[in-house]
């Protein structure tokens, strides 16, 4: 049955997330203004909060599915802050890649490490196949020699190792691309710097340099040194992790947008401007009408996220819907945060409040994990039944 009602258990979980988020928010400005610092893996307040998993005790078949819940939880956490968490889980994007593409031995060997994922290079943005980083086998020492640069590496500073993407045969194009695991201790592996960004400044985003970096031959993820056919092997492995995250990224952005809407509503009400949803256009002020438009935009975008997650809860494919919600949320959060500042005026642009930070933080949503343009390409190819060559 079509339903958008939260069960008591749903509300209990999300309520707890909200309390945690409020505690995290208290640290938000500090780590934004001091971007060289990292939020702790666990906040001092953590002792007052039960571990997330414990909230899920006694959930029944009538409660909302876990996929949908995880999206609302992701949004509920970023509502507090993008970077600060009560407890930071171990592991990074790289661990997902290891699980997706590593051999059982490799998984056993490395999964205890926090692994970052290094795809993007200074010369390639949303096109992961344009990798110029090279891996050459030194058959004498049985080592791979890596050379190249990687940027925008999430959790890149704190990670103990990284899954890096390099080509063993440029002429083979996409097919020559392999994933390698590099531990931080590897010679010639330099963490160049922490990126200085518009927003999510507390976020650990690094730039790497690999200079004749040597790693054991066995660090080739999946172990297959052959040149596979177009788009398989390591490539698919990475694309897989790349695809899984779109709805989550959309939800995280929308949590920030909701924080902006909630705070804006509070400020408007404090100024005596209440939102009356019953009146039509002629009954609205410029501010209330605009606020409702932004609110509708938020709701519409969030529902596309929940739909994509609901499909996966149903065991159905959601590749199209993942791109739909990522594209929708990416554009929505830009308009919502820009609009909230517009509604509140100069006060919205003051760093005495978090709204301007949310405006900066949320802008990443339409950029990482595939820009809105990339998502539209995926959507268009799907509905037009076109391949990569027919629609570029």
């Amino acid at each position: 049955m079509i339903d958008f009602h939260l069960t008591d258990s749903d509300k209990k979980v999300l309520g707890a997330i909200r309390t945690e988020a409020l505690a995290c928010r208290a640290y938000a400005r500090h780590y934004d203004e001091n971007e060289h610092e990292f939020p702790p893996d666990e906040l001092p307040e953590a002792k007052n909060f039960p571990p997330l998993m414990s909230l899920f005790a006694g959930r029944g078949a009538d409660d909302t599915g876990l996929g949908v819940m995880s999206m609302m939880i992701a949004a509920g956490q970023s509502w507090g802050d993008y970077s600060v968490r009560m407890r930071r889980g171990k592991g990074g994007l790289g661990n997902a890649a290891l699980r997706a593409a590593g051999t059982p031995e490799q998984q056993k060997q490395w999964n205890h490490l926090t692994l970052a994922m290094a795809i993007t290079e200074p010369g390639c943005g949303s096109d992961p196949s344009r990798v110029s980083m090279t891996a050459v086998l030194d058959s004498v020492t049985d080592e791979w020699i890596l050379n190249g640069e990687k940027i925008f590496v999430t959790t890149g500073c704190r990670a103990e190792g990284v899954i890096v993407w390099a080509t063993i045969d440029k002429s083979a194009g996409r097919a020559g691309i392999k994933s390698f695991l590099v531990e931080k201790s590897a010679p010639g592996f330099i963490v160049a710097h922490k990126e200085k960004k518009l927003g999510i400044r507390a976020d650990d985003t690094a730039a790497y340099v690999f200079k004749d970096c040597r790693i054991p031959r066995g660090n080739l993820l999946g172990g297959n040194e052959g040149i596979p056919k177009e788009s398989s092997g390591g490539f698919r492995g990475v694309m897989k992790t790349f695809n899984m995250t779109r709805p989550a990224v959309a939800a995280i952005g929308l949590g920030i947008a909701q924080a902006a809407l909630d705070w804006t509503r509070e400020q408007l009400e404090s100024a005596g401007i209440a939102i009356d949803y019953s009146g039509g256009l002629a009954a609205q002020s410029a501010i209330t009408q605009r606020f409702m438009e932004l609110e509708a935009l938020y709701e519409a975008a969030m529902l596309t996220v929940l739909r994509a997650a609901w499909l996966s809860d149903q065991g159905k494919s959601n590749n199209l819907e993942s791109s739909i919600c990522k594209a929708k949320a990416g554009a929505a959060v830009r308009e919502i945060t820009q609009g909230c500042i517009e509604l509140l005026g100069p006060m919205g642009a003051s760093r005495d409040h978090l709204l301007e930070k949310w405006f900066r933080d949320v802008r990443i949503t339409d950029i990482y994990e595939g820009t809105g343009q990339i998502q539209r390409l995926i959507i268009a190819r799907t509905i037009l039944d076109y391949g990569r060559e027919e629609l570029k």
């Binding site: 079509i2 039509g280 438009e293 509708a296 529902l303 596309t304 390409l377």
Partner: protein, 368 residues
């Protein structure tokens, strides 16, 4: 529990409507628009779907199914996919019957509901919209004054569906006080003294749906003609239901535009390749796909809240605002994708462009 899954019954109903839209509505839509009329035989044909009667209690000869705003949303999207004007014509008796099911006194239900349980289409309608700039459903000017054992109605109503043939009208009027809650509904027979009916009106869109203007000059009706009697009706809920329904129809038209534009763009060539292979066109189509989904879930959210009997004022308003804006953009983009062919009446897109602009300004007037 958050779920996007219709029940099996709802899927059956939706598929039946989809077939009806394809076989009975789409083929006659253009002719009905050009001739500005709905064929009587179509109304009879649609009547057999039981759109109205099934939701009337068995005690009055109906199907006895409990009314479901969600099912209505699914049904409306499909009918509107065929043609919004014909869809609204077919369900217009519900404009009168459903509020009586929901709010009517036992006497009112006994007197009027059987009219809609027969084998043939029975026309009745709702009078909400008023002439003049910036109509707002919460700012009605038509008044109903209590006078002894009766009410005296004065005002002008326009865009009244099937005014040319309706036996009764449910007239919404200000009944003291301000805002949505001050509004009440009154049952007015076609032959009421002081009621003048001018029909048809000439409209930009939805031409297949004949509408008319009612002028009420001190029309006197018995106190028992007030919907719900002394208890009255919850006008706010009527407006909310209407906004949700309006959103559903807009989703249907938008989907029609998208499903027409996609094959057209693949088929149509310019500069030696299908225009769908141009990013500018392909991304426009992608945006249609994104928004038709987004519109539908927002509209479902409002319907679901209404189905639970909760106050859906916020959800219905957001769905209306969002769907009105996006549907206009989609129809507009649809015309652009077709270029010159979007401007001529050999293709349906120009018709959808007019229908969306017309429907999306009828705030609160598409109640079902």
């Amino acid at each position: 529990m958050i779920s996007f899954g219709p029940t099996e019954e709802q899927e059956v109903a939706r598929d039946a409507m989809r077939d009806f839209a394809a076989s009975a509505i789409r083929p006659i839509a253009r002719r009905c628009d050009e001739e500005s009329q709905v064929p009587a035989e179509f109304l009879e044909q649609a009547w057999q779907l039981g759109l109205v009667s099934t939701q009337i209690p068995e005690a009055f000869g109906g199907g006895g199914e409990t009314r479901s705003p969600i099912t209505n949303a699914l049904v409306l999207e499909e009918l509107a996919f065929g043609d919004a004007g014909l869809a609204l014509a077919a369900i217009s008796p519900a404009l009168f019957a459903m509020p009586i099911v929901e709010f009517g006194t036992e006497a009112q239900q006994r007197e009027f509901l059987p009219l809609f349980c027969g084998d043939t289409f029975h026309a009745a309608s709702l009078a909400l919209v008023e002439p003049g700039p910036c109509f707002d459903p919460t700012g009605l000017r038509t008044t109903a004054e209590r006078k002894g054992d009766s009410y005296v109605l004065s005002g002008v109503k326009c865009f009244v569906p099937l005014a040319d043939r309706a036996s009764h009208f449910l007239v919404l009027a200000r009944n003291g006080g301000d805002g949505a809650d001050a509004v009440q509904a009154f049952i007015v027979p076609r032959d009421a003294a002081g009621l003048a009916i001018a029909s048809p009106e000439k409209n930009l869109g939805l031409r297949a749906l004949p509408t008319g203007t009612l002028t009420l000059e001190r029309v006197e009706v018995p106190a028992s003609a007030r919907l719900g009697g002394d208890a009255g009706c919850e006008a706010r809920r009527i407006v909310n239901l209407s906004r949700a329904a309006q959103a559903a129809v807009l989703v249907g038209i938008s989907r029609a535009v998208m499903e027409y534009a996609i094959p057209y763009a693949k088929d149509r060539e310019a500069f030696d390749e299908a225009i769908a292979k141009k990013q500018a066109i392909a991304f426009t189509l992608a945006d249609m796909c994104i928004e038709v989904d987004a519109m539908r879930w927002l509209m479902w959210q409002a319907a679901s809240k209404l189905e639970r009997g909760l106050d859906a004022t916020r959800e219905a308003q957001l769905a209306r605002i969002y769907c009105a804006r996006q549907a206009m953009k989609i129809a507009d983009d649809g015309v652009q994708v077709l270029g010159g062919h979007g401007f001529i009446r050999e293709h349906p897109v120009e018709l959808w462009y007019r229908n969306v602009r017309m429907l999306s300004v009828l705030d609160g007037a598409a109640l079902v």
